[in-house]
Amino acid sequence: METPNLTIATPELAAALPEVQRLVRFAKLEELLALGRANSLWPLTFGLACCAIEMMATGAARFDLARFGAEVFRPSPRQADVMIVAGTVNKKMAPVIKTLYDQMLEPKWVIALGNCAISGGPFVYPGQYAVVEGVDKLFPVDVYVPGCPPRPEALLEGILMLEEKITGKRRWPKVDPEQ
């Protein structure tokens, strides 16, 4: 933190300056808001298929999404920040998903969880008639979490990457798969 350019009135105040610098922080409002939003992402309950089970497992006791502030799954899109699209998006379901996305208030983010949400997954074959090949055909996606289904740890990493995207810096240790 840079030392602010202050005119110190009395010697007592000048002596208190290091203490004050330790206790008081300055930041841009956007950064504070970003920190607040990143620490309290409220997901929309949007489980479509198999990946929904791993999303539920992430919210349960072992993997504990609550550590990152994101366990408050809201059924209403008006109250949710992030839509975790967990599962296959169908042509019949596509207008519904688009409506839900439009109903969410800004700022909003989208995590595409699982291969189906990323690109149609295992259900893409020549001549397929029912699956939308990736939810990014409907609206922009912020984080893609691959897997069929991805492990809960992968979803946690996806949430952390989203937080990195929101705040601009990675605030949690990266796990080295080699270890």
Binding site: F46, A49, I53, R62, V96, Q128, A130
Partner: protein, 381 residues
């Protein structure tokens, strides 16, 4: 068990101005209590449902058409994704129907491993049902307990199958990988652990006064309604009919194992709940016996690389966690199936919802739907 009959409020009267007082409420397809993407068009009179019309197809993933575009072996990953909560059973049905069509003999060790892994899968499916069902009723704590126990099973199955949810562990004629002694001993430990946890669930949930008030006498589905709609599994057993495919059309090594078929005659949500809890206990019993009886030996029969079952059609049914799952395959002698028909339990179980929910309060109808244990991709395929 002593079930008292609760006072049920009278159904709405059909008076001259009912049509002016009703409204249509749309439940889903995005809704926390529909267990997937199911839409219910409810014609309501206040809080009473006059008519509930389920609308499906929001997660139709073309499994049957994909069966005609894949070789017999390439269809195996699809089987796990039809009903992902009891993926082992569905894979079992598919490999067994192809083994029946091509007359392939499965080694005994493989059959025992199939039974052990399938029954562990049944327990994990029932635990997930327990957690989400009670979540629908408003109880959050059992969800966490159930998922914690479920993680133990997923650890066991991940050791041998490599996946947590959509296993593709069985192959035509056996398994893709053998189990080791570590798996067998950990499974044995799990059986003891789970028995103690069942006592905990009974104390926490079954004897809870709010759960009893929400479930006893609610959503009665009798045996005749089940027969007319083809409902099977805990729905049929909760109506007093002892129909279990493991006894009706015995397969694998189930004839050598001793287990009870739990039934309760009342047909209400509590009966279906109790059937599933007892099924967890019976599955633990089956796993224990299989662990004692499992022989050494090969786990895979000799099967041609590009399998071509002889022309004709064959069917095979298994008792999946939700009920009777039947596969009918039609072969034209080539590497690619001519037709794969999947008869899924949730399809028949949901089809009775329209008739069973008439006149129910909305929360009671959701309790009924939760007790049917539906997985929507199982319906839509």
């Amino acid at each position: 068990m002593n079930h008292h009959s609760p006072t049920v409020a009278p159904a709405p009267s059909s008076g001259a101005n009912v049509g002016q007082e009703t409204f249509v409420l749309n439940l889903g397809p995005q809704h926390p209590a529909t267990h997937g993407v199911l839409r219910l068009k409810l014609t309501m009179d206040g809080e009473y449902i006059l008519r509930a019309e389920p609308v499906c197809g929001y997660v139709h993933r073309m499994h049957e058409k994909m069966g005609e575009n894949r070789t017999w072996a390439q269809f195996l990953p699809n089987t796990s994704r039809i009903d992902y909560l009891s993926a082992m059973h569905y894979t079992h049905a598919y490999v067994a129907v192809v083994e029946r069509a091509a007359q392939i003999q499965v080694p005994r060790r493989a059959e025992f491993v199939r039974v052990i892994t399938s029954e562990l899968n049944r327990i994990s499916s029932h635990l997930l049902w327990l957690g989400t069902f009670l979540l629908d009723l408003g109880a959050f704590t059992p969800f966490l307990y159930a998922f914690q126990d479920r993680e133990q099973i997923l650890d066991l199955l991940e050791r041998v199958a490599g996946a947590r949810l959509t296993y593709c562990y069985y192959r035509f004629g056996g398994l893709c990988a053998d189990v080791d002694a570590e798996f067998l001993s950990r499974t044995r430990d799990f059986v003891g652990y789970m028995r103690r946890r069942l006592d905990l669930y009974h104390k926490l949930v079954t004897e809870n006064v709010i759960v009893r008030k929400r479930l006893v006498g609610i959503g009665v589905v009798d045996a005749e309604m089940c027969r007319r709609y083809g409902a099977t599994g805990p729905v049929l057993r909760g109506a007093g009919v002892a129909y279990d495919v493991r006894r009706a059309e015995p397969y694998s090594v189930y004839p050598e194992l001793d287990f009870k078929i739990p039934t309760y005659p009342e047909g209400d949500c509590m009966a279906r709940y109790l059937v599933r809890m007892e099924e967890i206990e019976q599955s633990l019993r089956i796993v224990e016996q299989a662990l004692d009886l499992i022989p050494e030996g090969p786990i895979q029969a000799q099967v041609p690389r590009a399998l071509k079952p002889p022309p004709g059609d064959t069917c095979m049914a298994v008792e999946a966690a939700r009920g009777r799952f039947m596969v009918r395959v039609v072969s034209d002698g080539s590497e690619v199936p001519y037709r794969i028909k999947l008869r899924t339990p949730s399809f028949a179980n949901l089809s009775l919802f329209e008739e069973a929910s008439r006149g129910l309060l909305l929360p009671d109808a959701l309790a009924l739907m939760g007790s049917l244990d539906l997985v929507i991709p199982d319906i839509d395929r």
